[in-house]
Structures are given as C-alpha cells and as structure tokens.
Subunit: 308 residues, 2 copies
C-alpha cells in the first residue's frame, strides 16, 4: 500500500470530508463525518483534524490543504476573501498557513465580489479550481445548492459570480410559511412531474410574478385539489426557473455552460437547462471537483509532494 | 343617545373588531379585541360575539353582519367563496345566515378565482365593497399586507385579483433565513432611506434577479459594512418593487389606481407607486373601508334598518 503523501480536507459548518492521497493523486482513504465547525469544542480544530488524519493513516509531516468555512472568521484561522476578478491558481498562492507542530497546513481563501453586486463564496471556489483542472477554463458554471452560485470563468479566472437563495427559499417556504400544508411531502421534487414543468415555465417566463405564483400554490391546493407532492414539485420548478431567469438576465445566454452538482438536484437542473434551451457542455460532480481542486492546490503549494 | 340599529363585525384569525351603528350609519361605539378565531373556546362564537355586542349596548334583535375568517371552514359557519367575476353586491345577496336566538346574523363570503391563476381572499372583499361604496367602481386596487392583493374592478364587480406574499416573505426572511443578522433591526423600513429606493429599483427593474438580490443583502452587510437598518429597508423596497413589477406585468399600467392601506405601510406603497411612475387616484383607509363595506351589506340585507 502506498503511503499517503497529502491530506485534502473540505471542512464546512456542518460536515467534514477528507481524503488521503498518494503522491500521484490516487485516493488511498476517504472520511466523512458530521464534525462541522459548529461541533468543534473549545476551538480544538487541530485535535479534530489530527484524529481524522490518523484514522486514515496519514503520517505526521504529510501536508494538509483545507477549504470551506474552516477559513471563515468563525473558523480555525481566517483566510480572507480574494477579490474577483481573480485567477483560481491564486487560491493556492494566497492560501493561509496554519501553525501546527504536526504538519504543514494551509487553508484556501474564499472569493468576494465587491461593489454594486456584492457576493461571497467559501468552498465553491475550490470546486471551481477543480473545474478548471478538468479543462473547463472559460464559460458559465452553474452550482446548485442551498445558495446556488453562477460563475463566469475566463481562462481559469473567476470574473464574476452571483448567488441565488433557491434552496434556502425552498426549505423556508416548506417549513415556515402559509404554504406549508400545500407543499408538505416526503417525496423529492421530480423533474418528470408535469407540475414541476408548470412551475418552471412560470419562473422562467414570468419571474416578476413569482411572489404571486407562490401564493397560487396554496390557492391551487385549496381550490383545485392539487396535492402537496405536485405543489412541492411546482415550488421547486418555480424557484429553479426563477434562478435561471435571473442568471440569464445577468450573464446572457452562455456559449459554454457547465453544471456542477451531486445527487438528485443534478437531474432537476439538467431538466431546467433543457427547458430553457441551454446546452450543457459539461456535467461535473461537485464532490469530485472539490477533491480535484484541493489536489490542484497541493500541486501548487507542494510541488515536491506531487508526482503529477 | 341613538340606539344601535346594527352591528358590523370584522372577525379574523387573530383579531376581532366591531362597530355599533345607528340607522343613519353613525358609529355609536367601536370595539377591538384580540379575540380572533384561534382564541374561541369550544366553538362558542355566539358567546364571544354577544359579549362584545352587549358591551357596546347593541340590543337583542338588532342585526349583525360579519366578515373575515369567521366564514372560513375553520370559523363559525362556512360562507363558501363566490367565484370571480362577481359583483360585490353579491356579497350581501349570497351572505350566509347564522341561526341565532339573539338576532339576525349574516356572514359575508370570500372570493375565489379558479383556473390557471387560482387565488382566494376573505375579508378584503368586504373592504372592496367599501371601496365601491366610496365611488371607486372601476380600476385597479392595491391592498398591501402580509398577503398583498391587487384587484381589478369593473363597474362594481371584481373581474380578477392576485395575491403577492410580500409581507410574509419579509417576515420569513427577517426571522428565519441567513439574512437574519444582516436585516435585524427594530426600525421600520423608511421610504426616505436611500437603501429602500435602491432595493425598490432592483425589484422593479430586475425582478428575475430577486433571489440574488436577497443574497446581496447578506453580502453587502458582510463586505461593505451596510447596516441592518439599511438592509431591512432595502429588503422591503425589493419585495414591494417585485410586487409592483408583478402586478404591472399581470394587469398592465392602470388608468385608475387606488391604494387601500392603513398605517406606515401606506407611505411605503405611495413611494413605490411614485417611483413606478403611477398616479394614485385614491388613497383609502383599510379600516374605514371594511366598515363601509359591512355597512353597505347591511343596507342590502336589511333595507328597513337603514335610513340612508
């Protein structure tokens, strides 16, 4: 068995993921735990990290590269945002070293967009470094999620991005609003549901009427007997359609579009891209890309530890 | 002192308002209490009502007309929705009598819009009857609130309406979302705040980008030092602007527009109407109109009890 040459870590508010890699990038071990920042006691980030690395057989001295909220003001050591436009390679050159007797540790910074359209990301920038490493260096990248990001890449640099609160609005409206009963279901929204397509058409073509379309979810349930599973799918279609309408208004119709997603949400966004008449040039896995991004940072930070 | 000829009651989920009126419509007494439907014990609607009417000196036998959620399925007696288009006079002719040994009691129905743009109202229809009684019989009526209504009137009939979840979204985003810290303030949104105007411009002119504009409230607070009072005003402007954009998309620019509001929200909506280049033909008080609507219903239901 090869010895782990580096450790790659994506450390968020509620989750911890790490990979032990050989010098050639081969993944030797993987670890996923609910040890997000909020669960770290007495600020003992080092103890949590070293416990996981030891369990993966990463020896002392092997460098670790971290990304995610661990670099925020409320994390381990703050890695201040890089201002866009910025080359993604700068994530490595501007990484913040964390003093540790155990090993060289770096935290990659997030990105900030200042000015008239202020925006921030922390974690997604590392996925983008992975997207660039995958060869998609110019074009628009759609990254669905609680806070979906749309990112304009030009020759390996981020030149602009926009966050849409799609996933959070979906959860907020489902759990805390007058729509609750109308959309309450355990079923995931399904892109094959005609109600998803109807919600989507409303979001794409009549975005100004979105807050009325929301109330219609309740009225349709009250008056027309629409079932919660359909109304939930309609809500999902509406919010994702609204996101696409907004992204297209902001960035125009892209010549090149990549979708970076994992799990069921990928199918929903693919359906929306098709309905919006967009061609997906690349479909990339978010988990895969964050690992590739961390690996790309390792190559830049520790060229001696990387054989590829 | 004149004797009360009729009792007018607006009975909602969380509030109870009643007026005792002389035959000529003069208000002899007014009563406001937190006795909403949710506080009625063992279904004793009659006991709650009679207690308030007795306290106002309304004698047994004097008729009462009620509107609001008291006529919903979870209220006293269901007064099924009237389907639009409908003349507002039909609120009286279709009112539901409630059996009572104390007096003649009627509950006015709500309105429902079936079909492609399902919608409902209960309570606002009585305000609209008051608007018509005030002489505004044709035009668009804007009724701000938790669930803002925009209503098209033609010759005293409602021919269409749309509900926008503006107020509820404002509360939901303030209290339960990632925007909470960025917009947390006790100060009411102020239409003179430049941030209100900026949010408004975004909502009116770039409605598709609304869910991105929401996230910008947090990013602007994080990055640009925008204070919560400004971000709260910006959020308010954004959501109201979005509502106007939607209403104008749905109904076109109105020749005649009336604003039906009470309290501080009236000033916000007036500012938005002006910014959207709309002329308010009438500014009506919502409290006043619900009373006028109930009074108009009394005149139709009990012509013998009304001297005007």
């Amino acid at each position: 068995m090869s010895e782990a040459a580096t450790a790659l870590v994506d450390w968020g508010t509620t989750s911890f993921r790490a990979w032990a890699c050989a010098a050639d990038g081969t993944v030797l071990a993987e670890r996923r735990a609910p040890d997000g920042l909020t669960g770290v006691r007495n600020g003992d980030f080092s103890g949590v990290l070293e416990g996981h690395l030891e369990a993966m057989g990463v020896r002392l001295g092997a460098p670790a590269v971290l990304c995610g909220m661990v670099g925020s003001r409320t994390g381990w050591v703050e890695a201040a945002y890089l201002a866009v436009p910025t080359r993604l390679d700068d994530l490595a050159t501007q990484a913040i070293p964390v003093p540790s007797p155990a090993r060289p540790i770096h935290i990659l910074p997030g990105l900030a967009q200042r000015g008239a359209a202020p925006d921030v990301m922390r974690g997604e920038e590392t996925q983008l470094l992975g997207v660039v490493a995958e060869g998609f260096r110019t074009g628009l990248v759609c990254m669905p999620g609680t806070h979906s990001k749309w990112v304009r890449l030009e020759e390996g640099a981020v030149t602009g991005f926009s966050t849409f609160m799609t996933g959070e609005l979906f959860q907020l409206l489902r759990s805390g609003s007058i729509l609750k009963q109308a959309v309450e279901t355990d079923a995931r929204p399904d892109s094959d549901d005609p109600a998803f397509a109807e919600g989507l058409a409303a979001g794409l073509s009549r975005p100004a009427e979105a807050t009325n379309a929301l109330f219609q979810l309740r009225a349709g349930w009250l008056l027309e007997g629409a079932v919660p599973q359909a109304q939930s799918a309609r809500l999902s279609g509406l919010l994702i359609g609204l996101e696409f309408a907004g992204a297209l208004a902001r960035y125009g119709r892209p010549d090149r579009l990549a979708l970076l997603a994992s799990g069921p949400i990928a199918a929903l966004y693919e359906a929306v891209a098709t309905a919006a008449g967009l061609t997906l040039e690349r479909r990339l896995d978010a988990d895969h890309c964050v690992r590739h991004g961390l690996r790309a940072a390792v190559r830049l930070l520790h060229p001696d530890r990387s054989s590829t």
